[in-house]
Amino acid sequence: MGVDPNAAFARHWKKTHGQKVTIRQSHGGSGKQARAVIDGLEADVVTLALAYDIDALAEHGQLVPRDWQSKLPDRSSPYTSTIVFLVRKGNPKAIRDWGDLMKTGVLVVTPNPKTSGGARWNYLAAWAWALRKPGGSEASAEQFVRKLYANVPVLDSGARGSSTTFAQNGIGDVLLAWENEARLLVEQVGRDRLEIVIPSLSILAEPPVAVVTRNVERHGTGEVARAYLEYLYSEEAQRLVAKHFYRPRLESVARGLGRRFPPVQLVTVDEVFGGWQRAQRAHFADGGTFDRIYRPGGE
């Protein structure tokens, strides 16, 4: 009750416009959803895990304008998250920071960044830490992620799979997860079994939203679609997203929740990697750094 932003928006729209809106949703992995929209799913708005997937909507089918990210505040991402560590209660392997993940004997669970858009943030966070470390370079960062992924026993295809592997099946010492997912998992599984470790530096995960221009033009739903996304920036909605453990953008809401979201040094994909297109090409495309880690005889 009262934690669903869609219901809240419907109420808001009824009050301001006197119209009833029905919000129909389709959920799935970020890339899968983007492909569904490219292939003709008549979505008016998309809320995805990474800007790369909305770029794909612009590139394959001109469904959104190329400058979609500048259409809404904060690079079109109304709320953020970051990558944190989830460890077993008492932190038996003493995992405090990224460096501890490459120790021998530490098993790290994280999804496959090739199949999970959300998991690309995990990889980039690790890379960013190694790069920003004193004396860090591209080469040392590659070395670090190579060692880190050598400690990964299972590459699940998505974040939900990894959570299951770690929490239900008891595999691994540390799960790399979005902060909101990690918080949710702790609530579900229990504080007596899992705890969260915040690393010294992490990445600002910015899940983006966009109006699918081509579809709303056909449906005549442009106004309400835009209002829906703008509503996500409102104080009411920001409080709701915080309840779902996303970090709100709105300063006034964030300030009141200081304890809920511990401060962490955050870097952005744009700063460190020059945006998603370049990050994707360098790291996750065919023959990119991630493939090199697993190239036969590449170790």
Binding site: G31, I38, E59, S157, T164, G170, P296
Partner: protein
């Protein structure tokens, strides 16, 4: 197409062999027993064309947009080759396991009466009904090194989950109903008198099985095997949970397709799909061919 024709011909062949059972005269029996050959063949072609050939042509069309080099670069990369090995190997092994145990299960269900038989019978179809992801999660839960079965096996140094064996376990699970359900009706139709005759003629139980029962059910077992194999090859949902998806080791071919799609590399995804499709089609043809050959050989033996 060949199937539509053979359906038409089957009653004729029977009619020829047993003219008396069919009707008064041979001339009448030669006429088609049921009208509508043209219409049913037409419907068959239309249906197959629309449901099977059309999507497959779309696939081929997409693949044809790639140059040969790019196609082979994707379809024959070291990682793709490793994934074919795993996919074909595990599917084959799973289908083989199902062929053996499916036959036994079908035998028990047809030949014996025992309490709870109906329940048992209904259980067989569950792998069809269960969402495959649920199956994958449940199997991983059991077989992971911390799971109920996995923990015991781990002590013996055996790993199931996150190894190719785990992939095989999942594929065996989803393929079980195929063999059971194809063999069951054949066993039900099997005339017990034939077995009794064999026994009367002095055949041992094993001989009866080997020379009488097995040849009769073999085509059904082969069909079930082929179905289970084909189904396993395309399976994604259950396998990705238990396989661990490690590149070069436990990555199945359908996962590589998804990987390609995540990069919006539709053509690359189709390249791998085309390889899977062409090779499974060739294998299915081969299995069908072997079956036909076996049936012919048997008929020849029966005549001589």
């Amino acid at each position: 197409m060949s199937q539509a024709v053979s359906i038409e011909e089957a009653p004729l062949a029977d009619a020829e062999r047993m003219p008396a059972a069919v009707g008064p005269g041979r001339a009448r029996a030669r006429r088609r027993l049921l009208p509508g050959f043209r219409m049913t063949l037409g419907i068959t072609l239309l249906y197959l064309g629309f449901m099977v050939l059309l999507p497959l042509s779309a696939l081929a069309l997409k693949a044809s947009t790639m140059s040969g080099n790019v196609f082979w670069g994707t379809a024959a990369s070291a990682r793709a080759l490793a994934s074919y090995r795993l996919s074909f190997g595990a599917s084959f092994a799973a289908a083989a396991v199902n062929a053996v145990f499916g036959l036994i299960v079908a035998w028990v269900l047809v030949r014996y009466r025992f309490p709870g038989k109906r329940l048992f019978d209904a259980l067989i179809d569950l792998p069809f009904a269960l969402p495959t992801a649920v199956a994958g999660i449940a199997l991983t839960f059991l077989y992971s090194p911390r799971g109920w079965i996995g923990a015991i096996l781990a002590k013996a140094g055996i790993e199931i989950a996150f190894t190719p064996v785990g992939v095989m376990v999942a594929l065996t699970f989803i393929g079980l109903p195929f063999v059971v359900r194809t063999v069951q009706p054949v066993l039900e139709d099997l005339d017990r008198e034939v077995e009794e005759a064999a026994a009367c003629l002095g055949a041992t139980g094993l001989q009866t099985f080997r020379r009488v029962i097995f040849p009769t059910v073999l085509p059904a077992v082969a069909t079930g095997f082929a179905l289970a194999f084909a189904r396993a090859l395309g399976e994604y949902g259950s396998v990705v949970f238990i396989s661990g998806n490690m590149p070069m080791r436990t990555e199945i071919a359908p996962l590589l397709i998804v990987t390609r799609l995540e990069q919006y590399d539709y053509a690359g995804a189709t390249a791998i799909a085309v390889v899977l499709l062409v090779s499974s089609f060739a294998l299915l043809l081969l299995i069908n061919g072997l079956q036909a050959w076996g049936a012919r050989a048997e008929r020849a033996e029966a005549r001589s």
